[in-house]
Symmetry: C2
Subunit: 200 residues, 2 copies
């Protein structure tokens, strides 16, 4: 099984972490396993929902894919050397994605080089302060690193992970299922267009 | 504050419950408060994520809006008279919505009359067995009852709740924020078109 860590911090945005994990787990039978990965046994969302982590931070180094979720406390995360030291990411071996303020984590870890990123409007100035260019786009991927901006763009991160690990037919199948009824074909076409036109 | 119960059972689909609750809670400052409401202190999602409920089932009778989430155990829910007895819904006083297999709960409670519904492909035959017509659409609302089909249609339920309680400008504002970056205007227009063309 291809192991996917959905890194989820205290104050997390539920749409961001679950938007990716639920869609990726539609491919469990095809070999993808996504797990909510947390620095503490439980974390509480920005709207007060407490969840129990499924994997500890050790899992990140073993995972094949790591997606950094977003939330209202990411600026605390990037100021916390202990948490940052647990984020042992390896772009040469792993697919790495970040959602909204998760891009600030990748910037702070120095993983972006001269790659521009997508993020949300609130996080944008903090990412730019790291000398990283922010795009007016929902999704951008270069090599093994992808970023997405806007809560509902978490579906693009999920699609990118599925495309890179299982291929286009698996993307079509997963999105045909999760799409609004009657909007299956337009959803599949749009998602594939966004990620394929923004992958370098 | 307008109180919204997001009824969430064991085996729940994360996209369905959180797709609605996170977007509705974007309107907290405008007066909408959504809470994950569960029959047991904790419930575990279809992908094994344990969450702690924010409200007990007593909250349903007091809420202004009740959305029934979806999951892989809804057929157990509708066979459990004890759980059904906790679902004290009042269409004359409350807005009531159901996501995917949540429509089966409304059918079993006899709340639908001759109203057709939206649901997912797996649930469809079970809803039809209750003599309820299923539409090939993502969203349908009649009066105070709305149903949605397909995980990502949970955003339409959220939009309907915001439209009915706060009005169109609040829908525009919430979806402008949660939309993928660069897709704000098309997302807002599409969401409003879907719910306004399917509300009777």
């Amino acid at each position: 099984m291809t192991q996917v860590a959905i890194v989820t911090f205290d104050g997390f945005n539920e749409l961001d972490s679950f938007g990716a994990s639920t869609i990726i787990n539609r491919c469990r039978k095809s070999g993808l396993d996504a797990w909510i990965t947390t620095p503490t046994p439980t974390v509480t969302s920005m709207n007060g929902v407490q969840i129990t982590g499924q994997r500890t931070m050790d899992f990140i180094a073993k995972a094949d894919v790591v997606l950094i979720g977003s939330g209202v406390k990411t600026r605390d995360v990037v100021a916390d050397d202990q948490i940052l030291s647990m984020l042992t990411l390896s772009p040469s071996r792993q697919l790495i994605g970040a959602q909204c303020s998760g891009s600030l984590v990748l910037a702070r870890l120095g993983l972006l080089g001269d790659m521009p990123v997508c993020t949300d409007v609130v996080t944008r100035p903090f990412v730019e302060a790291c000398d990283v260019k922010v795009l007016d786009k929902p999704f951008h991927a270069v090599g093994s690193i992808a970023t997405a901006g806007g809560c509902l763009a978490s579906q693009y991160l999920a699609a990118w992970v599925i495309l890179r690990t299982l291929g286009e037919e698996a993307v079509r199948s997963a999105f045909h299922y999760v799409a609004p009824v009657g909007e299956e074909d337009t959803t599949v076409a749009h998602v594939l267009d966004v990620i394929q036109s923004s992958t370098w």
